[in-house]
């Protein structure tokens, strides 16, 4: 069973807090977390609503494996309509708060309406109350975390909070939990702040149990842990270098977007790589990386705990940033580094600290700075516009000044807080925004990795790697190697990755397990927890159902097939160097086959037959 079967509903407008029983039918159709929360959202809001209006709702949800001993079973999601994309937004986070929420007895928390005053939600098992947040409104996530721990005198309290940019309307603010894990993308934090909700603080001591087959569950869990330990990626690469193990690999295959995706290889890649994080600094002899760290229940432990050189310009006389905190992951290191041409590891680490401290997405932030740099160098942005900051590619100073301005909401930071799409529109160069559906790309160039381009173009939350990570197959050979430079066979690959991912995301497990696990490893764990009906085939069906449910939401929100594409640069400007030299993305050639495999019409709309097959239509 593993679900608690209970939902907490918070009406922020009235202050009413009620509990309800989880919908049994939907649970069987959508599993949990991403799938189930999306079903609730779809049933409860008008997809065409303004994401920052009182009509939008925000759901925090766990999966059936969240809080169990299944390796990586600590994930939770935030599902809402996102302000960056105007699409369904589902941001997934690790850390510890998901398991704490489950241990407090809740599968989901649904927030609706808007509080008249700033509040935070305090949960202690069955007890839930909205408390005043006036004293922490206008402060960072880290300050909020400290204040709440002091106020409740409980070091075990788990906290998720928004920072100042969320309050100021930055369109890519996230919700940070446990100081440096985040539901980071698509502006879910902006939605939270728009409801005058500053934080959620949870203490859960009930425990998670209710397993369908305890012995079968523990057997599957132990077998799964052994597979993760024996796998080269999850057992060695990720613990040693984190996701940053990819920096040199992706650069070498000519798919590391550089200088706002003008180039596909970065000269400074090694300097900002996972390997560099483990090399002693010249100045103080210490390494950037102090240790790896795990989220709840995770036996991979890819998290980075890092320090910044105390003599570095970014932290001079700022002792607050001299200790350890969450270090660089690959996507952040790429967006802040290669995409801006910045090769200064300490500067990137500092900027990453600030993104965590004040809660905003380093991918969208970094790519927005990159767009600003290209516009500045082209003369579209002037020193007057930027408040005197020289936005040249390679400038670590421009990057660190930018992050401080977005954090505080001052000056040019207000423009940068819009994201690249709106920024580039404002300054007359919309074609320089490297986005799909308003959301910035992650760290893989679609010219050098063809399949990922199709995934970006069709991802239901805008450009995103963790909706269908075909890089696993196209670069790493997992589960089998495909040629990254060809479009042949990619529509099927993309669909398969997208459906499996939707299923894994809905279980409460981390997607990173799938470097080593197939659904053959995952299904027995879900079956042990939830019942024998959760077979591999059924999980694939559930994944496909979730994908189509999200698609239906987006269509009702106004998305059309014209939005399933990439910026002209990637379709017209060929890669200049590396293995992909001379190639552009063939996204448009792949799209008809993708629509066909999905059971959608040429207009990108699921056919009646498809909707009926997936029980999305009676």
């Amino acid at each position: 069973m593993s679900w608690t079967g209970k939902i907490l509903r918070i009406n922020l407008t009235s202050g009413d807090i009620t509990t309800e029983v989880l919908n049994e039918q939907w649970k069987k159709e959508y599993l949990g977390s991403r799938g189930l929360a999306t079903k609730y959202l779809t049933e409860e809001i008008d997809p065409a609503c303004d994401p920052l209006s009182i009509e939008n709702k925000m759901i925090m949800a766990t999966g059936p494996l969240t809080g169990t001993m299944a390796a990586t079973g600590g994930r939770y999601v935030v599902v809402t309509k996102g302000p960056l994309t105007n699409c369904v937004a589902c941001s997934n986070s690790g850390g510890f708060i998901g398991a704490e929420m489950k241990s407090a007895g809740w599968d989901m928390i649904i927030f609706e309406g808007k509080s008249p005053e700033p509040v935070y939600l305090y949960i202690e098992n069955d007890k839930a109350e909205l408390l005043p947040a006036d004293e922490i409104w206008g402060t960072s996530v880290w300050s909020t975390d400290e204040w709440l721990h002091n106020k409740h005198q409980d070091p075990s309290l788990r906290i998720a909070a928004v920072g100042r940019p969320a309050e100021n309307g930055c369109l890519y603010a996230g919700i940070v939990n446990d100081l440096h894990r985040a539901a980071g993308r698509s502006g879910v934090g902006t939605v939270m702040a728009s409801k005058n909700l500053k934080a959620v603080a949870i203490r859960g001591t009930l425990g998670v149990g209710n397993l369908a087959d305890p012995a079968g569950f523990m057997k599957a869990v132990n077998e799964g842990k052994a597979v993760l330990a024996d796998n080269a990626v999850t057992g060695q690469g990720l613990p040693a270098y984190g996701t940053q193990v990819l920096m040199n690999v992706i650069n070498e295959i000519g798919a590391l977007p550089t200088n706002n995706m003008q180039d596909v290889q970065f000269d400074g890649a090694h300097a900002i790589s996972g390997e560099a994080m483990s090399e002693p600094r010249k100045s103080d002899g210490r390494t950037n990386l102090t240790t790896n760290a795990a989220c709840f229940g995770c036996t991979i432990a890819c998290g980075r705990i890092s320090t910044i050189d105390q003599g570095h310009f970014s932290v001079k006389n700022k002792a607050k940033y001299w200790g350890n905190s969450g270090g660089l992951e690959f996507e952040a290191a790429w967006a802040l580094g290669a995409d801006n041409g910045v090769n200064d590891l300490d500067a990137l680490t500092y900027v990453n600290f600030i993104c965590n401290e004040d809660g905003f997405d380093p991918i969208t932030f970094g790519a927005t700075v990159a767009a600003a740099m290209e516009m500045f160098e082209a003369g579209d942005l002037t020193l007057e516009d930027t408040g005197g900051i020289e936005f040249n590619f390679g400038s670590a100073e421009a990057l660190t000044q930018s992050v401080e301005l977005v954090a505080s909401g001052e000056g040019f930071g207000q423009d940068l807080a819009l994201g690249s799409k709106r920024l580039c529109e404002k300054y007359g160069r919309p074609e320089l925004s490297m986005t799909v559906k308003g959301q910035e790309f992650p760290a893989y160039d679609p010219r050098g990795i063809q399949g990922i381009g199709l995934n970006y173009a069709t991802s239901n939350r805008g450009a995103c790697h963790v909706r269908g990570y075909t890089v696993a197959s196209e670069v790493l050979g997992i589960p089998e190697k495909t040629d990254p430079l060809t479009a042949v066979g990619k529509p099927g690959l993309v669909k398969a990755f997208q459906d499996i991912t939707a299923s894994v995301d809905s279980s409460g497990l981390c997607l990173f397990t799938t470097f080593a696990w197939s659904l053959e490893n995952i299904a027995p764990q879900i079956q042990g927890a939830c019942g024998s009906e959760w077979t591999v085939d059924y999980l694939l069906e559930v994944g496909e159902r979730i994908w189509n449910l999200e698609r239906e939401f987006n269509l009702k929100a106004g998305i059309t097939s014209a939005d399933d594409t990439l910026p002209a640069r990637l379709k017209e400007e060929a890669a200049k160097t590396g293995p992909a030299k001379g190639l552009v993305s063939q996204v448009e050639a792949m799209m008809p086959e993708y629509y066909q495999l999905r059971g959608w019409g040429e207009d990108g709309i699921p056919t009646d037959e498809t909707l009926k097959r997936l029980s999305l239509k009676g």
Binding site: M69, G204, G207, A301
Partner: protein
């Protein structure tokens, strides 16, 4: 042969698999708040430290208990709490210098590590060997070996932390 739990914080990643294994063994649910072993995070230093009862030979908790509810398991060497005798007075929690015996509100008794009867589940669950269960007379061997490897007869070398 008596065995001891040995903890090496340098290897700990803070994943809490040990806490879940412990609570599942003892309470039947995954519940870190009811675990007999706790992992402490020192965020600024970037350190994770698992901590639990070391099973003192001459145990403060055992001496302090007014109803003789704590007894020695002759096979494992563990000091075990007898639930039928424990009255929940908490005197043991005051006397233990290390804080590793604690009151459990839901049962009204104290709880502490009992080495799972000789098969400690925390050690089995730990993915990094930060917690091991080895010969009680040999718990320092790994550290000795590490220092021995950097010792020579020509100089004093103190860089054994590698």
């Amino acid at each position: 042969m008596e065995k001891s739990l040995v903890i090496n914080p340098d290897k700990c990643t803070g994943c809490l698999q040990c806490e879940m294994a412990c609570s599942y063994e003892n309470e039947g649910v995954f519940n870190p708040s009811k675990s007999r072993i706790k992992v402490f995070t020192f965020h600024q230093e970037g350190r994770f430290v698992p901590y639990t009862c070391t099973q003192c030979s001459d145990a403060w908790c055992q001496h302090a208990c007014p109803v003789d509810a704590i007894s020695l398991n002759l096979v494992t060497g563990a000091k075990e709490v007898n639930d039928s005798s424990c009255v929940g007075c908490k005197v043991c929690t005051i006397s233990c210098p290390f804080g590793t015996i604690n009151y459990n509100q839901s049962s009204g008794k104290v709880i502490k590590c009992d080495l799972c009867g000789g098969d400690p589940k925390c050690a089995t669950a730990c993915p990094t060997q930060a917690i091991t269960y080895i010969d009680a007379n040999q718990t320092g061997m790994d550290k000795m070996r590490k220092w021995a490897s950097v010792t020579d007869n020509t100089s004093t070398n103190t860089s054994a932390n590698a």
